[in-house]
């Protein structure tokens, strides 16, 4: 187990390096010029040139890449071009909201989706099954921001039950924390819920059609409950896979949700940085997301071996 884990961890290093190279070169070719934006509306072309030089934006590619990589390894992600604050500081300010949103979304989605999938599998072929699946498909057919606006309109503006926007840290109390995050989590979670419900149902169906299950069913009622749990355990592998893959989709949805609900998270930070071409921030954040994703996949792979000892690579 340990050997496998070590090998797996080592295998992620070249992947991360490739991501780093990718992220860095992506922006190197970018035509936008942050120097012009910084110079401002009343600047002369000379001002713009001077700012470019002072930001070091005119050095060759390899030097900039190695320079950057070396600093990153030492924990220095550079300073934002626009705010002059250290990128690591900006990221640490915004991790908590995004992390909270993700965790809450994941919890909500899994809590609803897995039972939904199980019920649909149990009542396979009936109206309930069709209904659950249809709801699931609706879930990932509507854009997240439309759902977000609708929820905000109904629950926050009209009914006044919940706040329209913002984020309250959990350190200020569980209830205010939940009040701010529940609408964004639901908006974001619908997509995720749909995916997980479908995969749960499909896997459960597959497992339930196996011979040993049929035998047990034929034998009598008492066995059913135990077998469902057993079936669920076998369904764990694909479910965990989807959770891992869906994580990337979550990040994408989080960008939009953070925008609609004004949550000061990493998603918005990244989008703002990309559109403004704030290179150090973009590099830092995309690298961070990718590392997180790689780690998530790593955990998923390691979890596989827990759920199914047959899986060894």
């Amino acid at each position: 187990m340990l050997a496998y884990a070590t090998r797996r961890v080592l295998a992620t290093i070249p992947v991360i390096l490739i991501v780093a190279l990718f992220v860095f070169s992506l922006l190197y070719i970018a035509p936008g010029d942050p120097a012009a934006i910084i110079a401002g509306d009343q600047a002369t072309p000379d001002d713009v040139e001077r700012i470019r030089a002072s930001l070091g934006l005119d050095r060759p590619f390899v030097i900039r890449f190695v320079d950057w990589l070396w600093s990153v390894l030492q924990g220095d992600l550079g300073n934002s071009i626009f705010t002059n604050l250290p990128v690591s500081h900006m990221i640490s300010q915004r991790i908590e909201p995004t992390l909270s949103l993700m965790v809450l979304t994941l919890t909500l989605s899994l809590s609803f989706a897995i039972p939904m999938g199980v019920i649909a599998a149990w009542k396979h072929g009936t109206l309930i099954d069709r209904f659950v699946m249809l709801t699931a498909v609706f879930g990932f057919s509507t854009p997240v921001f439309v759902i977000g606006y609708l929820l905000a309109f109904v629950f926050a503006l009209k009914l006044d039950w919940l706040p329209v926007q913002g984020f309250t840290s959990i350190s200020h109390g569980l209830l205010p924390f939940l009040r701010n995050l529940i609408l964004p989590a639901v908006a974001l979670g619908l997509v995720y819920m749909a995916l997980i419900a479908r995969i749960t149902r499909a896997t459960m169906l597959d497992v339930l059609s196996q011979d040993y299950v049929r035998t047990a069913k034929a034998k009598g009622v008492g066995q059913r409950g135990i077998l469902f749990l057993h079936a669920l355990k076998n369904a764990a592998v694909p479910i965990v896979t989807i959770v891992g893959i869906g994580f990337a989709a979550l990040i994408g949805g989080a960008v939009v949700t953070e925008s609609v609900f004004a949550i000061p998270g990493l998603g918005r930070l990244t989008v703002d940085a990309i559109l403004r071409r704030d290179y150090p921030v973009i590099q830092g954040v995309v690298l961070l997301f990718s590392c997180v994703y790689v780690v998530v996949n790593l955990i998923v792979d390691l979890l596989y071996t827990l759920f199914d000892p047959r899986i060894r690579y």
Binding site: A36, G40, P45, F82, V103, Q165, S169, L269
Partner: protein
Amino acid sequence: MIDRRGLLKGTGALAGAIAGSVGLTRPSLAQGVDNKVLRFVPQANLANLDPIWGTQYVVRNGSLMIWDMLYGVNERLEPQPQMVESHEASPDFKTWTFRLRPGLKFHDNEPVLAKDAVASINRWMARDATMGVPIKRRLDALEVVDDRTFRFRLNQPYPKMLFALGKSSTPCLFIMPERIATTDPFKQITEIVGSGPMRFRKDEWVPGSRAAFERFAGYVPRAEKASWLAGGKRMMLERVEWHILPDAATASAALQSGEVDWWETPVSDLVPLLRKSPNIAVDIADPLGNIGALRLNHLHPPFNDVRARRAVQWAVSQSDYMQAVVGDDPSLWKEVPGYFTPETPLYTEAGGEPLKGPRNYELAKKLLAEAGYKGEPIVLLVATDLAILKAQGDVTADALKRIGMNVEYAALDWGTVGQRRAKKDPPAQGGWNIFHTWHAGADCVNPAPYIALDSSGDTAWFGWPKSDLVQERIQAWYAAPDLVAEKQAIAALNQAAMDHVVYVPTGFFKGYQAWRKTLTGVVKAPFPIFWDVSKS
């Protein structure tokens, strides 16, 4: 052997620990007493806080709280002494001596001295193209006379010195401690030590999301009543929080539900909705409004030919632009067949015929043909992330198509537009033919802060108009001895600028601001003013 249950438990604990530790390191926002905290939604993100280095309006607006100025313009744009106690100007306007008020302090409790003023002035002069640079060019010496006195020695007269020191157009002359003001003007300052009524809480700053300002107890306001940047800046609030909400629908909902108190730039279509709420007040933000601008590239065909530029004047409809920009409320906009701000003493319509009245597409097409336009693509840079600019861009594309021009609509963001408009290359090779912007009305009342009117060619603002006649007439205004002469000079200038088509004004428009009725003291100005505002 880790079993599944143990792993899940462990993960939960780890997650909890991470959340907890992040909570500890995250700056906790002080929850002030509610009626002493103002939550404000600014027009844009506060990305940095160096008002000399970065000249966006939103940076200037924040800086107005943090730093004080030597002079400050009042409601009539007349400079009034602020940090200065008295001044002396030589009759030839070449020597200016200033004496600072006693008891002025920085936020680190150090006294404000003449050397701080001198260092701040030097930094400002390097970056202010409209007034600072001309002063610098005439400067023989800027010297510290004693702790509270400093002197300008110019080799040519500069009568508008007080206005330069107190103007509200960016960059404003903010007074910073000497050690900070000696930072290269092309690099951001790293330390923020203010001289104004509010202290910036840098430890609470989350760029893109939130900024906080706290009252500085050591600030001594002047005795006079406040009027824009003049008079006593008395803070009634303990804390001002800026919440950055780029999504207009979210900002509107937040204002309605009371989560924020003041919205600087409500979208005009949402104003009727806001007005319906009994708790919200809506009014014109700035009586001096803004002038929209269609900026032509004078360096390359077809707009290097004045006839092609005039064709644009005859084709565009200011009412289309203005309705697209501000919506259905006619009280919010005016046509402006000229370059100067309406409802100000120097406003004139001399020479503005091409922009008045019904559009003349036939004449425009004829002028285009005369100029030799044969259907080459016209590169139109549109910043789609700023509603005002996108609206103008869409209307321009439509208007030019009507006179048979081949428009290449380049949908970009404001940052890229900023970079591309600086290029003098031919449009087909990374340059441009047209871009849009707007100028605050306060910056268009006369030629002094009016960078967009300068027609010196190569050193002019983006577009590089060149007209010796326009430059002559600008100088004529500077030389005008009284208001009557000024008006004549401006009329002549307007005529010349219109004939030459320095740029095409797209109209005059005002914006609203909206605030909850728990706030009293909100005034109309080109920038949000936080002193004398209180909350019940």
